[in-house]
């Protein structure tokens, strides 16, 4: 595994049950391949509008998904398909969602990434950046009133950190000591806008002190580091409730959406992060630790690919919702 770790981190990583690493790797591969399938469908013109993926950022979502307990609540954003998959959504559910099928998580009513199943603790996002942090905080407050020791995790981008909603929610959670982990996935860009034009502080985690909360940083491409960090925070705030800010540095390896050629990203940066691909890094480390070998990995890949292509086939065979359902369900029945 990469050498920048402290002894403490190495010890923590070593202390984790090795089955967890297999889960982590499997989930990253699953998410990657789901995203790749979505891109194929998009290229084939099967998807309305553009598609938004989390390729390159899987380690962050996966760490959270694997670390979470059943009562926990999550507010994913547009780069977190891995979180959905890790909290119970199926590849078929994702395919139905992007293809707007009636049996998908939003029944075709919402766009490709704006889904979530509350029964899994996952909130369907709205596009307005920053708006979901306070929602997950409120959800956790409710769960705790109901006697559950739930914690929440909200994901935002570097760009979303500029919104008023980010600030209001952070301060609100701090005042009420709500156990939410807010993860800023700093992938250096908000659409075409680089960090240098988004904020002027050195690190976004520097905002934590202004809320009177702890702020931590982690390597968002290193699944092991992400997992031990996230797990540590979640365990801790579960018993000692308070919000924590975590900045995970990473890189979006595609355009903002599939319509975007992301020419604004310097080649070298992509190359650097290509070498730091979270799946590659994890696989190399696991091979070194004898937790994985090539044939087991190939078998895992094959199994996942089969499931995904079956899911895509299934979803493609279904049709979009009937227009007659258009006006149903705007209101919940009294």
């Amino acid at each position: 595994m990469p050498g920048m770790w402290t002894l403490e981190t190495v010890q923590k990583v070593a202390a984790v049950d090795s089955a967890v690493w297999v889960d982590v790797l499997r989930l990253m591969v699953l998410a990657r391949k789901v995203d790749e399938q979505v891109i194929r469908l998009c290229r084939q013109g099967q998807i309305r509008g553009s598609s938004f993926t989390g390729i390159g950022q899987e380690a962050i979502s996966v760490a959270v998904a694997v670390a979470g307990e059943p009562d926990d609540l999550f507010a994913p954003c547009i780069r977190n398909v891995a979180l959905h998959l890790g909290r119970g959504e199926t590849p078929l559910g994702i395919m139905r969602q992007v293809l707007a099928r009636p049996d998908g998580p939003t029944g075709g009513r919402d766009g490709n990434i704006h889904h979530g199943r509350l029964e899994n603790g996952v909130y369907a996002m709205i596009s307005h950046l920053g708006a979901m942090i306070s929602v997950v905080a409120g959800g956790v407050m409710a769960k705790r009133r109901h006697g559950k020791d739930a914690v929440g995790v909200a994901f935002v981008g570097d760009g979303a950190s500029s919104t008023g909603d980010f600030h209001e929610a952070m301060n609100f959670a701090a005042v009420f000591k709500v156990p939410v982990l807010v993860i800023i996935e700093n992938n250096h860009y908000a659409y075409s806008t680089p960090n240098s034009r988004q904020f002027a502080c050195r690190h976004l985690v520097d905002r934590a002190v202004g809320y009177g909360i702890e702020g931590l940083s982690a390597d968002g491409n290193n699944a092991a580091e992400m997992y031990v960090t996230v797990r540590g925070i979640m365990d801790d705030i579960r018993t000692n409730p308070r919000p924590v800010l975590l900045e995970a540095e990473t890189m979006r390896m595609r355009g903002h959406g599939e319509h975007d050629d992301f020419k604004y990203v310097p080649e070298e940066l992509l190359l650097l992060y290509h070498r730091r691909d979270p799946i590659k890094l994890a696989l190399r480390a696991m091979k070194a630790a004898k937790l994985m070998d090539d044939s087991a990995f190939s078998a895992m890949e094959a199994e996942i690919e089969a499931e995904i292509s079956q899911a895509a086939k299934q979803a493609l065979s279904e049709t979009e919702p009937s227009p007659d359902t258009l006006t149903q369900g705007v209101y919940a029945d009294a």
Binding site: L73, P105, T106, R109, D110, H114, H115, G116, R117, L118, Y123, A124, I126, S127, H128, A131, M132, I133, S134, V135, V136, A137, G138, G139, V140, M141, A142, K143, R145, H146, G164, D165, E168, A169, N171, F172, V175, G329, V330, Y331, A332, D333, A334
Partner: protein, 327 residues
């Protein structure tokens, strides 16, 4: 049952008290609503009665307050959020329109939040403490809007709003707080959302009104009866979304002449909706064009001289009714 007189403000207070007492999932929060009792002392005593866990102060962050309420509501709670003044909701409309309003349609998850919006002018609140924003909320899919005019309805509407599984904007009129009184007993039943109430019946014309304007309309109707012998129907809408088209059409049929009164701005205001709806479905019932009497498209002015002219009053309504009847 013994009757007693309560104010509109007491009506809301008692509604909140009732809900907090009977619904353990209900909570009430907002700026200064706790020990202080709110900017209008409307929530005075509720924190002492139900505890800090049920009634609590928040920082100044309308978006986070609403977001928190949405999060709670989706987990089975029934949060009631007080905006200190309705005017400040415009910092966070996306939480209502996009986050609360679309959620059931998109995911099937209900969002039973109540947003209390102290509204309306008349006492020198100026442009930022007097707004009437019902039009914004009525335009939002997935959102319901109530606007009681009388203490008993105000009380019953709180219960109805909290009971309803959808986001409900609870419009409450600040000038009615202490000026409007009514005899009530202690039976509290939820107001049926979407049902208007005819406050007075007559065959010469109908006034469709809501909130404080109901009282102005009633004064105008009494005046006109005395001065001209005209008999006016006054419909108190009570619920703006959904609104009670049946009652509106019945009153239109009975009178043929309709005046819609609102203290909100004219252009694209709620009064236009009522006019358009009557035209679409009750055109043949009309003896004269539906008229609107609203505030002009002007920021709400502070000076008494200006605000008095700005806000429709009984006198303006009487003039408009006379014009309509003599059309």
């Amino acid at each position: 049952m013994p009757m007693r007189e309560i104010t509109y403000l007491q009506g809301i207070h008692e509604g909140l008290q009732h809900v907090l007492e009977h619904d353990p999932e209900s909570v009430l929060f907002g700026q200064d609503v706790g020990a202080f009792g709110g900017a209008f002392k409307l929530t005075a005593g509720l924190q002492a009665e139900f505890g800090e866990h049920r009634v609590f102060d928040t920082p100044i962050c309308e978006s986070a307050m609403l977001g928190c309420a949405i999060g709670m509501a989706t987990q089975g709670m029934h949060p009631i959020v007080e905006m200190q003044f309705a005017d400040f909701i415009t910092t966070a409309l996306h939480q209502i329109l996009n986050n609360a309003g679309t959620r059931h349609y998109r995911t099937g998850n209900a969002v039973p939040i109540v947003v209390r919006a102290p509204s309306g002018g008349g006492s020198g609140g100026g442009p930022f403490h007097s707004e009437e924003l019902e039009t914004f909320f009525c335009h939002m899919p997935g959102v319901k809007v109530v606007y009681p005019a009388f203490p008993s309805d105000a009380r019953a509407a709180i219960v109805a709003a909290v009971t309803d599984p959808n986001p409900v904007i609870y419009m409450e009129n600040k000038t009615c707080y202490r000026s409007v009184k009514e005899q009530v007993d202690d039976r509290i039943a939820p107001l049926p959302l979407g049902k208007a109430r005819v406050r007075r019946r007559g065959e010469d014309a109908v006034v469709i009104a809501y909130g404080a304007m109901v009282h102005e309309a009633l004064r105008a109707a009494a005046e006109l009866q005395e001065s001209d012998g005209y008999e006016i129907t006054v419909v108190d809408l009570r619920s703006l979304k959904p609104y009670d088209l049946d009652t509106i059409l019945a009153a239109t049929a009975a009178t043929g002449r309709v005046l819609v009164v609102s203290e909100g701005w004219k252009t694209c205001g709620f009064a236009a909706e009522i006019s358009a709806a009557i035209t679409e479905t009750g055109f043949h019932l009309l003896d004269a064009p539906v008229q609107r009497l609203t505030a002009p498209d002007v920021p709400i002015p502070f000076a008494a001289t200006l605000e008095t002219r700005y806000r429709p009053g009984a006198g303006d309504i009487a003039v408009a009714l006379r014009d309509l009847i003599e059309f």
